[in-house]
Symmetry: C2
């Protein structure tokens, strides 16, 4: 069954049915503000960190799946529908979703009324712009009602889904003209807020979920939309939302455009309030709204975004007789690599954004795919990663993007981690010729007083492997090697314990993992990445160190050749007592 | 507006409309297996620990609220309805929910078909029995279809809602006759499983959520029910569920009864499988099913439960001219106290069961309300609580019911905690005259080698207050006093930090909290509970210690009288530097 096709000229994937086998999603945003958006406009937004700074609420693994997002409800007479079909699920006369480079355009048509919604996060902007164009394609005038909707997350996504005793009491909003401000905990200890606005006067609003949806209704039949009139509710605790209500009349063939903006803003602690000490200081929001309050500005912003992507994708292109190869290499694989760089797998439709931060191994690997596109930001990422490394060469397996600090919940001692950084730094130098990164002072464990040149980080990475070998001279698997679930090192035996991070009492003294279990995978990775390290040393004129490193590589090669194929190391590794 | 009434004779609250302002719920279970059930049959079940051993899945703060539970769908011709109205929300001809003592009975009627469902957890049984009686009150024969439904939680409720990368790959079920077994992770490292059965042959089943509900449908319009036929799906990963399908014909006036059981069972590690090493060893389940496979056995089980409650509530009764006082004192307040004992506030419709374990302070306080009903279990609870205490008299503020170990995530140093244990032990002795509890050997920090008599625990509790006073001789507020959010001790300044447990760097050296902030509340609690401790010492013939303790109490009284009313202590306490 076919659900869509590639539009190569526009670099878009065009989805022609809303009923995809699973939500098909796009990722908006390239810097600090990110949005996940499905082909029916489901999903959510966050600032930097999907766990700690979640802006809108989203329920993973819900029934039906993908309920909750940024929704536009249109009510013409007794017919209620969404441009993206869901959540009302009224059969549309036509539907199309175009996932492009950093933007998604959803078009729905019902009873000669066409609604085109373009969603994108402009460059250097902490907000999602939603441009809604409504066209009366009929031969008679139309009067209908438009309701916008999104649900605020109370910032910390983990707390938001578990701590109701507190959260049902903290929700707070503020209203100004056509702008709804979300300021939960702002008075208390936060200096950030969010807002949802539209560039026109409105006929009503709602900011309380139960008032808008109703206790027994769902996203598919909100009571306010069914009643055809906003209730102008002001949230006080419970679940704050943002919904605009506008009555619109269009002559035959007439068209109108409305621009909605979901924004995130921060204030200096001493400038949080207006003179009264209560009212939100909205300066930042006002500036942000001004930036995209006309169709011309939105067009320019979208053009700027597209140009930026054309530039990124233009750096490396192929032209083969096979259009599928060209499509994959020139557009979608590189796009995917950039998305991976931006979100580093911390949030998707299968990563809840709560369970993990940014991976040390992942990010170093991912860099190989995007370093040619954004060498400057690749350099920055390398330094962020190296700054979480420990002095002995060990690495935190993940770090929290908001704090850029190693995630001690998950800890380290993943045996392969250090080697990936050698690979990524080498790739960066090969791509840019920027040898200066080796002299860049980078902290250990985010402690500036422990800062040393990047070259020193590569050195301890290399020798972290050399100095942690097992009975056969093969690298210890430690808590886990590239296979994250290689439990033969931790010997976790109880449900609920992690294969990666459990510390067996029997190995507590020696760091919590077996000193017997070895990893041929890490050994081969060592022999694969080692030569790049040797080249780096030679380039720095450190011939003696280079020779020493080469000797270690050769030695490891011999050991692998001796043991890798006789299965003996394998049996021993699995033998608890070695 | 009125939603129901009290039926004093049956000790039931009768809800006459499903559309209560919020789900009105009851708590089933008194020992290890617990169920939360709303007046529309929403809710979930767990074994001992709502976080670590969740049996069925439930989505808190969902839209609509209270979606998910144990549902029965009835399809007669084209009409689909639930006895409890939700989730299909077909208007019923009649509806009634009776929340009784440990059981809930929901009755719905549509088109002359009456469905009565009684839910209860029998005494000493790790399962929920659901007795379904269907009666054709019409004058013609009826043929209709019955579908049962519940969704399995993959055991750890926190992991179940965040770690999809893993969980969507682990779900596993096993089928035997009319019984659906949930065995996710059983092969791996679990020795427990759950099952959902019915005491009759079935015409079909479903165990995969998407097959039963459909990707774009919800609990209110499952595609299998709409199609009127089970798809006999066998879950492999994703979201395992349990649904029975049965076609039923009833003559005019005829009635039939079906008994469904949701059960939880454990196996010894060496008896997990049958001879083939793969098939689940179902002995325990078979026994459990046998226990309640006839209406007579169910009646007897229900009668036993009611008798148990009559006994509990009969211990203390009043007879006043005011029926509301009698109702409150004789039934609902005591019932509430027992529920609080059973779940200790770890799970409700506002406590997600994930955020917290059982409270040290809470449980000692709650005991005052139920000690006269179940002195033996009160004694056991007191010993469980004391066993988490630290040798210096400090206490973990919470412990995990499954492990009975102190919860180090939340830690201790809540200044009032130790005093509540003096109060509860004294209340226990006053109620029972069982002085022997004072000689009971109880560990500190769950370490048997540190076991000392309960009297020693009271001693260190008392002196933990005496030895931790501030500038005015008033008890330190420590991290928090009875007011859990008394942040003047921790000086947390950033959002996301806990008012209770944040450790300010400026106080790190001295234990993470201010040594200036004092609590008059703890001081007065000390003078209130102290005398009971003095009586205990006197009874043990420890007159010297008694006099010494009395002197401390008198001294504290003087300090409170000196400072409590001049506001001076208060200002100082809030003055960071003291």
């Amino acid at each position: 069954m076919k659900f869509g096709f590639f539009d190569d000229a526009n670099k878009e994937y065009v989805i022609t049915s809303p009923k995809t086998p699973y939500p098909w999603i796009n990722y908006l945003g390239t810097q600090d503000f990110f949005s996940l958006i499905s082909n029916t406009a489901g999903g959510y937004s966050f600032f930097k960190d999907a766990r700690l700074r979640r802006i809108t609420r989203y329920r993973y693994n819900n029934v039906p799946v993908d309920m909750g997002g940024r929704y536009f409800y249109i009510k013409e007479n007794d017919t209620i529908w969404n441009p993206g079909w869901s959540p009302v699920k009224t059969t549309l006369d036509s539907y199309e979703c175009r996932h492009g480079m950093g933007y998604t355009k959803i078009t729905g048509k019902k009873n000669d009324l066409k609604a085109e919604v373009t969603f994108f996060v402009p460059q250097n902007y902490t907000g999602e712009v939603q441009s809604v164009t409504l066209t009366n394609e009929g031969s008679a005038p139309k009067t209908f009602k438009l309701f916008s909707f999104l649900e605020w997350c109370l910032w910390d996504a983990q707390d938001d889904t578990t701590n109701f005793q507190r959260n049902f009491n903290t929700g707070r909003v503020e209203l100004e003209g056509s702008t709804i401000y979300h300021r939960t905990e702002y008075n208390e200890r936060r200096n950030h807020y969010a807002f949802y606005t539209v560039n026109t006067d409105i006929d009503g609003y709602d900011t309380d979920r139960e008032s808008f949806i109703g206790l027994y209704n769902g996203f598919g039949d909100p009571q306010v939309v069914e009643a055809g009139k906003a209730s102008n509710s002001v949230a006080d605790g419970w679940s704050p939302i943002a919904s605009h209500y506008k009555e619109i009349t269009l002559g035959a063939g007439e068209s109108t455009n409305l621009i909605f903006i979901l924004g995130y803003a921060e204030n200096p602690v001493d400038k949080k309030f207006e003179a009264d000490g209560q009212t939100l200081n909205k300066e930042v929001a006002h500036k942000m709204i001004e930036q995209y309050n006309t169709p011309e500005k939105v067009e320019a912003g979208l053009a700027e975004l597209k140009a930026a992507w054309d530039k990124l994708l233009g750096i490396y292109t192929v032209d083969t007789p096979d259009e599928k190869v060209n499509r994959m290499v020139n557009i979608w694989n590189q796009y995917q690599c950039m998305v991976t760089f931006n979100l580093s797998r911390s949030a998707s439709y299968f990563e809840s954004g709560i369970g993990r931060g940014m991976g040390f191994r992942d990010s170093n690997q991912d860099l190989l795919g995007f370093v040619h596109q954004i060498p400057d930001r690749a350099r920055e990422r390398l330094i962020d990663l190296a700054a979480t490394q420990l002095e002995d060469g060990g690495c935190y397996h993940q770090y929290q993007p908001l704090t850029k600090k190693g995630n001690s919940d998950l800890g380290g001692n993943f045996s392969d981690d250090p080697l990936w950084m050698i690979l990524s730094v080498a790739a960066y130098i090969k791509e840019t010729g920027d040898w200066s990164i080796l002299d860049e002072k980078v902290p250990y464990d985010n402690d500036e007083s422990k800062a040393k040149p990047m070259l020193d980080h590569l050195m301890v990475s290399f020798y972290h492997i050399v100095e942690n070998v097992g009975p056969h001279g093969l690298p210890l698997a430690m808590r886990a090697d590239w296979n994250d679930c290689i439990n033969l090192s931790c010997y976790s035996e109880q449900s609920g314990e992690s294969f990666q991070t459990y510390t067996s009492p029997k190995f507590a003294a020696e760091g919590g993992y077996s000193k017997t279990a070895e990893s041929v995978m890490v050994a081969t990775l060592f022999t694969y990445t080692g030569p790049a390290f040797v080249d780096i040393l030679k380039h720095k004129g450190m011939d003696e160190e280079a020779a020493k490193a080469q000797a270690e590589i050769d030695k490891m090669k011999d050991i692998v050749m001796e043991h890798a194929f006789d299965g003996d190391w394998f049996l021993r590794a699995y033998d608890n007592e070695g």
